[in-house]
Assembly symmetry: C2
Homo-oligomer: 352 residues x 2
């Protein structure tokens, strides 16, 4: 792996992770990941029968660390004493191959377009070649992780026994596309972005802060601010919270990495497998699926998720509650973790 351009994407910040060699990995949009790497972590031990593997893909801007923190633990539904848990960092996130860590000439603004399907093919390579898996007990992810979860269940239906897409859709909605467009434009309108050829990723801080503020408007929900629930996190005002939590979260990240993931997010769509027929694509799913939106989510609203759930043969609709809206995914509230464990525990206990 080339030297890391941005020191945010380090073991120090994100914990230890392994790199799986993808070689020269052809992409759906026509480019190639040259000497591509898929960053992943594991917890627990793979059983001799290889019948206890769980795969967790990551969301936009997230890494394996937050997926582990929110979803995995002793005594939790996803317990490493029982399961072999693989957390796969999505391509473009800065731990896996990304604009920030790829050497010239495919670095920065020349990093190729990636699709959700590329992520899932790369993860398939990892779980089959590295671990020799034929079945996954569960695939579970939130937001863009839900997009990957759906893609897994549609693309490799006989490998996925159970799926839990959290706060995400199988086919991105036009409203969501538009929202992400404003996030991207918030970054690229910063003159320091310089068409992706910034001299230092931290130079684009005006753009990163601007996108953080759009996240503040759409990423939570009106009630978080009304109830001032952010006080639990030690902030003293709306502005204190927005700067101290949201701007602070995005500031160290690499703008091209975020734009790479955003491009992919906008175009997540399992119906690419069936010529645009979403029903036909979702009917391919063999997994038992819990479709789990967050009640206050402003851009993956339960209504959109339920419309998809109704097209999935063996599925249930389980709504999570969080006053943090979409960013309830961060697992800030103890009660959210309990909800996750209750539903995932039930799903994992369901014979398939």
């Amino acid at each position: 792996m080339a030297s890391v351009f941005n020191d945010y994407y380090s073991h120090e910040n994100h914990g230890p992770f392994e790199l799986f060699d993808l070689g020269n990995f052809s992409l759906e949009e026509g480019g190639t990941l040259h000497d591509g790497k898929l960053a992943y972590t594991t917890q627990g031990t793979l059983s001799a029968q290889k019948d206890n593997a769980i795969l967790l893909p990551t969301w936009y801007s997230g890494t394996s660390k937050i997926m582990a923190d929110v979803h995995v633990g002793k005594g939790r539904a996803i317990d490493p004493d029982k399961y072999f848990v693989i957390i796969a960092n999505q391509l473009g996130n800065g731990l896996s191959s990304a604009p920030s860590n790829t050497p010239a000439p495919f670095n920065m603004a020349r990093f190729p377009h990636i699709r959700i399907g590329d992520d899932v093919r790369a993860q398939h390579k990892l779980v089959t070649e590295q671990f020799g898996l034929e079945r996954l007990e569960l695939v579970c992810g939130g937001s863009m992780g839900a997009q990957q979860t759906y893609e897994w269940a549609v693309r490799y239906p006989d490998m996925v026994k159970r799926a839990a897409p959290l706060a995400g859709t199988a086919k991105n909605t036009p409203h969501d596309f538009l929202y992400v467009e404003t996030l991207n434009e918030a970054i690229t309108s910063d003159p320091a972005w310089n068409n992706g050829w910034y001299t230092d990723s931290h130079a684009v801080q005006v753009g990163l802060r601007r996108q953080a503020r759009l996240w503040s408007v759409m990423g939570f929900c009106t009630e978080l601010f009304k109830q001032e629930a952010w006080r639990e996190l030690g902030f003293s005002s709306t502005e204190d919270f927005v700067v101290g939590f949201v701007e602070n979260y995005f500031l160290p990240m690499d703008p091209n990495n975020l734009l790479c993931m955003a491009w992919k997010w906008q175009r997540g769509d399992v119906s690419r497998h069936t010529g645009g027929d979403l029903k036909q694509a979702l009917e391919r799913i063999q997994a038992k699926v819990f479709v789990m939106p967050i009640d206050e989510d402003m851009f993956f609203p339960p209504r959109d998720c339920e419309a998809e759930q109704q097209l999935i043969p063996n599925s249930e609709f389980r709504v999570l509650h969080s006053v943090y809206g979409h960013l309830g995914l961060f697992g800030i509230e103890p009660d959210y973790l309990k909800q996750i464990d209750r539903h995932l525990g039930e799903l994992l206990a369901t014979p398939v």
Copy 2:
């Protein structure tokens, strides 16, 4: 009135309107409108008993024209054959005194801060001095017009017999404040804005288009895009609609005017009359009130409106349906107009 800086704010575009002379009008924030003007229109005839007057204030970016188009007409609930209808353009909107039409030195970026209370005091001056009114049969407005409606009912409780705040709140929410901050920043981040001293208001088109796109995300709702309801307006794609309808709407406007109204919007709060006690403020209301949010509104959600309604003594909660979300206010759907007429008709028929 000084020469109009931006020819958008013309009789040609907004129909004929009158100017009421506010003289040197002192503002709540400490400034003065020098030779201030309140632009208004009337329809119908004031009865000899002066007991048929209705006042309609305007929303952010709107003028008397759209208020008339959506709410007033023969055979409608607000029928000019029956009522004397006064439509008051809010200060800062470009027909009334605004950054775009005020001569130096108080023009453009030096136009003083205006509050909702200033609007309502100016309108009070108009209706009492120009028309000699002591009672208003109804005050009704949407969004910032709802803020003015609430302000009227709290500030002059014995003058307002009925009030219908549509898709707005009596006290702006912190989430809404944050949303409007992103709208403002979308404009002011355009280098052409030049701290408010642009050479031509049309020079700030990148900023105006950027704010239009944030309106597209939050101003409608997810279902509008999912259902492609914009096809009814003759557009062929999401992008075609966003550019052709939303960008096109904001492009001719004056950036300082929008920022002036936005500052006011962010700080709308009737509890300024009662030391921050919203309950006490709303209990002052003597009017019969129909609190009328739009079900799909993403920034004045029904939940916030209902919480206020429950503090208003003689009030009812009437939810409007529109797939256009907040911008359902534009009255694009024939069914929305019917809903408005049904509720306002009932309200006007209620003896007070």
